[in-house]
């Protein structure tokens, strides 16, 4: 499943997309994220996968801002940590 967490508002599109079929449930992204944006959940089909926490879903543009400086943006910690390449950011 491609789970898109986030939103589109007047200012732009901010989605973290998780390809849950690839997620092996290791939780490395959760540990890597400095802002506590990610968590492991058991989804509706009883799979243990990474997801964006409820508390951050409506504000990831702001939560992720420290990882995304205007200039010289490094590889995002969550993406770097994830071996199976589950995570994508839309912005």
């Amino acid at each position: 499943m491609i789970a898109n967490y986030g939103y589109k508002d007047g200012s732009g599109e901010y989605y973290i997309s998780m390809n849950t079929d690839k997620c092996d449930g290791c939780g490395d992204c959760v540990t890597a994220c400095p802002a506590g944006v990610l968590e492991m959940i058991v989804n509706d089909y009883d799979e243990k996968v990474a997801a964006v926490t409820d508390a951050h879903r409506k504000k990831i543009k702001y939560s992720c801002a420290p990882c995304k400086p205007v200039q010289g943006r490094p590889v995002l910690p969550c993406i770097a940590a994830c071996q199976p390449q589950v995570i994508q950011h839309s912005w």
């Binding site: 508002d9 007047g10 200012s11 409506k58 504000k59 702001y62 801002a65 420290p66 400086p69 205007v70």
Partner: protein, 257 residues
């Protein structure tokens, strides 16, 4: 030399007259639906104040969203450039300038010469701009001028979940129904918008001194929230902060010589 600067914002249009680096007159008018007319009026008002004629002005520069409409101007510039130029004229120690206008929030990092090195903008979502505070003052039935001082009296932090102006209005109404003290709600609102502005500012890297310009600068509650969120000693706010963009345009007009 005498120059003029006009800032054509979404809500208000401002004009200033600059003589040899000093602001000698300023005027503000509501933008309404005819931006050019608003610009003409603001400029005429400022000139009248300074007892000058149009012909005394060497050059006029325009800035703001409606700057293209000021066809009579000799030049135009972005809000980012105008904000930093204007701010540095008033305080040359600034390295980060934050502008919260009615429809946009902006953060600029600049050099001592007033060159913008980085900027971030929050536009097209009212939740990241001054409109948010205005909408909340209506939802709370509190005059805008009262909100700042009121929030400074708050003793308790309340949580606000809504990240959208429209949803925040309903949340505020239910908080009021639940008898939450208004000062706590106002503080939560100021914290919420300050948080959004600060996370945007962090993307350019905040360097001291930090200045805040734009009409929201009058709101001492917001200024305080901004200072706390930025974790800095103080945030510099000029007198009449809504004129800084227009001042910057007038400075640029003078420099264009």
């Amino acid at each position: 030399m005498i120059t003029a600067g006009i800032d054509m914002g979404a809500k208000t249009t401002k004009a200033v007259i600059l003589r040899d680096g000093n602001v000698i007159a300023r005027a503000l008018t509501f933008t309404g639906f005819d931006q050019k007319e608003a610009a003409e009026k603001a400029l005429a008002d400022a000139l009248a104040q300074a007892a000058l004629n149009r012909s005394d002005v060497a050059r006029t520069f325009a800035t703001g969203v409606g700057r293209q409409q000021a066809s009579f101007a000799n030049g135009s510039m972005t809000e980012m450039a105008a904000d930093t130029k204007g701010s540095l004229l008033l305080n040359n120690k600034l390295r980060t300038v934050i502008d919260v206008g009615a429809e946009e929030g902006r953060a600029m990092k600049c050099t001592a010469e007033g060159k913008v090195t980085d900027f971030a903008v929050n536009e097209k979502c009212a939740a990241g701009a001054g409109s948010f505070v205005e909408a909340m003052s209506r939802a709370l039935e509190l005059p805008l001028e009262k909100m700042g001082e009121m929030s400074l009296r708050s003793k308790n932090a309340v949580a606000m979940n809504a990240q959208c102006t429209v949803f925040a209005e309903s949340e505020v109404v239910s908080l009021v129904h639940a008898k939450t003290p208004k000062e706590d709600i106002v503080r939560a609102l100021h914290d919420a918008i300050a948080n959004r502005i600060v996370s945007m500012a962090r993307r350019v890297g905040v360097e001291e001194s930090v200045g805040l310009v734009g009409g929201v600068g009058y709101n001492i509650g917001f200024v305080d929230a901004l200072r706390r969120c930025l974790e800095v000693e103080s945030v510099w706010v000029p007198e009449q902060p809504e004129y800084v963009g227009a001042i910057g345009a007038a400075v640029a007009a003078a420099e264009a010589a």
